[in-house]
């Protein structure tokens, strides 16, 4: 398929279905599905059929619209009205109102800053296209980047474009993507692999799942471009089995792309071939670590191994392997389409582009957001998130999940980029963002994340296996009012030791939530230990 043919396909897709007068786009991503959006969809379809309006009115399932807590969400076009919290019973009223006055009590104000302050690149098709229809994706310029790359660019030119964009890995560490690609490209041998890391195990995070559910072709296109650039012909998508909807849509997407010759042998009629297979993970957090993930695909126990050698040199079955995160791959096609310079013009000096966050906790609007790098925490939490509900006060925001830390009020005006977050003891991580108010106990928060690390440690190395268990024990002692100041000193020693001696990133970062809460909220630890009380009234004191 040439770019010209793609264009024609996109056009014929539009022509084949004359624009219906009304189109209802209803979110069928996991969040809204669990709130019953499939039933609403059916009710709407029945209602339309009953009134004989099929030719005028179409109901379309789309990916995540972002404001997941207000789901099920839907968008009525061309009226441009967004509805929230819709139920089956609302179907008649909605159909009745088409082209007239919207159903007042369901309206979700789409001019609120939740929507207007975002900048969508990764999520540009989310909530717009039907994730199960490749034609929808193609109609939005899908696969043109791949076709162009194959037709007009050398692998080196592709790598240069990605390097120029300044894109950094979205899986946590922020490693420069162009540099990683060129390392794999330079590695010798004729056999290489591309892996998409869709394990996403951070508690509360669902960015990658949402991208896969809402726009699966976007990820496949990014992988294919990467494969061409580094010289791989086989790819794997490592998805956790807890994401059945994402897996189903990926399977559909792979089949559709193969049928159109956009994946498989001789893509777009060129000599380039690329096959993608899905591998299911059993849901161990550590399997997101790249060497553990590779072991898992190889059919071994999912445990990390010491690096170097890095996967770029010695990866899947010993062959050079490129491994990137879902969101990283999702950024590739737009970079090729619009140019690296375009991408580099968004964001900050060292952190380019946008970042998707799962905004959760004590904010009015929780859900999935995409913002330009460099936006401040205050803008995210108070403008997009709508601030803290119920008259409470902001206390801290936790970023980066179990590898990250808690950021206190004094840094609210700090720009969100890799370096700034690291400077205050947290990290970008994969994009979990949990807002806390004064009803949260910071020792309890640290304990929550330590508990997570204890149960997710793979058990291979001593500092992480035993050290995290000992740290959890000490935190538990503190929150139950049984600890002494010596225990606190011991806790700090263990933090240092586990951080610097563990084998993989899990152990190396497990102490971060403790360290950052100790840095900014030390007095809360002291209150638990000396005064035997929990300032936030969360912990149980046995006094």
């Amino acid at each position: 398929m040439t770019p010209e043919e793609l264009r024609r396909l996109a056009e014929s897709h539009e022509e084949a279905r004359p624009e219906p007068r009304h189109r209802i786009k209803i979110c069928v991503a996991a969040g809204c599905l669990s709130a019953g959006s499939d039933r609403v969809r059916e009710a709407l379809q029945n209602e339309i059929a009953q009134r004989g309006l099929e030719s005028e009115c179409e109901v379309k399932g789309v990916g995540c619209l972002g404001l997941c807590t207000a789901g099920p969400l839907m968008l009525v076009e061309p009226d441009g009205v967004m509805y929230q919290g819709v139920t089956e019973q609302d179907a008649p009223a909605i159909v009745e109102s088409l082209g007239k006055k919207p159903v007042e009590q369901l309206v979700c104000p789409s001019d609120m800053s939740f929507f207007t302050k975002q900048y969508k690149i990764v999520l540009e098709n989310s909530g717009v296209i039907d994730p199960e229809k490749i034609e929808d994706y193609i109609a939005r310029d899908g696969y043109t980047a791949l076709a162009r790359v194959l037709e007009e660019m050398t692998p080196q030119e592709v790598i240069d474009e990605i390097t120029r964009s300044g894109l950094r890995g979205r899986g946590g560490a922020g490693y420069p993507t162009g540099l990683k690609w060129s390392t794999v490209a330079k590695a010798g041998g004729s056999r290489k692999f591309v892996i998409c890391n869709a394990d996403e195990g951070d508690p509360g995070a669902f960015m990658d799942r949402s991208v896969l559910e809402s726009d699966p072709h976007r990820v496949l296109e990014g992988m294919a471009i990467a494969a061409y650039a580094v010289g791989a012909s086989q790819g794997f998508l490592y998805v956790r089995a807890e994401y059945p909807l994402a897996v189903k849509r990926l399977r559909t997407a792979i089949r559709q792309a193969e049928r159109l010759g956009l994946l498989g042998n001789n893509i777009c009629g060129t000599t380039f071939s690329f096959h993608v297979d899905i591998r299911l993970g059993a849901g161990a957090f550590v399997c997101g670590e790249e060497t553990a993930l590779i072991a898992s695909i190889e059919g071994k126990r999912g445990q990390p191994r010491p690096r170097p050698p890095y996967p770029a040199e010695y990866g899947l079955w010993g062959y050079p392997t490129l491994i990137n995160n879902v969101e990283t791959f999702a950024n590739v096609a737009p970079i090729i389409r619009n140019g690296g310079d375009w991408f580099a013009s968004i964001g900050t000096e060292k952190s380019k582009g946008t970042k998707v966050f799962a905004l959760a906790g004590r904010v009015r609007n929780t859900g999935l957001i995409e913002v330009p790098m460099g936006i401040t925490l205050r803008e995210i939490i108070f403008d997009i998130g709508g601030g803290i509900p119920d008259g409470h006060r902001f206390k801290a925001v936790q970023t980066g999940g179990p590898s990250g830390g808690c950021i206190p009020e004094q840094y609210l005006d700090m720009p969100v980029d890799y370096e700034s977050l690291a400077k205050v003891g947290s990290i970008m991580g994969s994009g979990g963002m949990i807002v806390m108010d004064e009803t949260s106990c910071m020792v309890d928060v640290a304990k929550f994340f330590m508990d997570f690390c204890v149960s997710e440690s793979c058990g291979k190395c001593v500092p992480c296996r035993v050290g995290t268990a000992q740290m959890y024990h000490l935190l538990n002692k503190i929150t139950s009012g049984e600890a002494t100041m010596e225990d606190l000193a011991l806790l700090e020693e263990l933090c240092d030791m586990v951080k610097y001696t563990s084998l993989c990133g899990l152990g190396q970062t497990a102490p971060n939530p403790v360290l950052s809460t100790l840095q900014y909220f030390r007095e809360e630890y002291i209150a638990h230990i000396v005064d035997k009380q929990c300032p936030a009234g969360v912990c149980q004191m046995r006094q």
Binding site: P306, E456, S457, V466, E493, M497, T501, L503
Partner: protein, 239 residues
């Protein structure tokens, strides 16, 4: 066939040493009589870098690297004895002692235990973290051998020797984190194992009293580990 092997020169604890490019820091240090403590490592088995006792500092590298799996490089400056390293090593040992029930006075290998030796050599005088005292089973179903999980340090030497040298792969690890445990076959009693050849290799490589032979006095329970390098060498020769 004979590819030239490049030799690298480096410094370990300010001493000039040299090593082949495929040698690790640990190997070169040992050749030069420089002591780096190890537990999971055993010559002849694939190194895994799990116990973290052999961590060393390398000038210009912010991370600490395990000597057992890190290859030598030209111009490297390695430090093996810094105060920081010694403190971490003692803490690794303390964590190991706290993890299970290491009651040396009643142990079958008291006096010949690598964990115990290491504690003496590294000057570990007490355990500052609380003992966890887990309840763990002992499996004496095998006609000749016993596995006592109370003394296992999860070094996986048994797993590796059985898989890589004997080729039986009777041992593996089950569970994760602090709940990890070595198992025979699919977590069946050792005595019922269909794969175990009763060769005794695992018992000989086990650094502690976790694996031991039935009915032998302590004096005869010295473990024999010299056979491993020999076996691996013979294999390489045949290739």
């Amino acid at each position: 066939m004979n590819q030239p092997v490049r030799v690298k020169t480096l410094k370990i604890d300010d001493r000039d040493v040299s090593g082949r490019e495929d040698e690790t820091i640990l190997e070169v240090a040992r050749q030069n009589g420089i002591f780096i403590p190890t537990l999971c490592n055993l010559e002849g088995l694939t190194p895994i870098g799990a116990c973290r006792l052999c961590l060393v500092e390398i000038k210009g590298v912010s991370r600490l690297l395990p000597a057992c799996v890190t290859r030598v490089e030209e111009g490297m400056e390695v430090y093996t004895q810094s105060e920081r390293l010694q403190k971490y090593r003692r803490m690794v040992l303390e964590l190991l002692f706290s993890e299970r029930n290491h009651i040396c006075s009643v142990c079958v290998v008291n006096g010949h235990c690598e964990l115990q030796n290491m504690a003496q050599i590294l000057g570990m005088t007490h355990v500052s973290v609380p003992y966890r005292f887990p309840r763990l089973p002992v499996d004496a179903s095998h006609e000749r051998f016993v596995v006592d999980h109370n003394r296992c340090i999860l070094c996986t030497r048994c797993v590796r020797v059985c898989d890589e040298i004997e080729g039986a792969h009777t041992w593996d690890v089950m569970g994760r984190g602090i709940d990890s445990r070595v198992i025979t076959d699919l977590s069946q009693p050792w005595g019922e194992s269909e794969t175990c050849t009763s060769c005794g290799k695992c018992v000989n490589v086990c650094p502690t009293g976790a694996l031991f032979e039935k009915g032998k006095p302590v004096s005869e329970r010295l473990k024999k580990r010299q056979f491993l390098p020999y076996l691996t060498m013979m294999r390489e020769e045949r290739r």
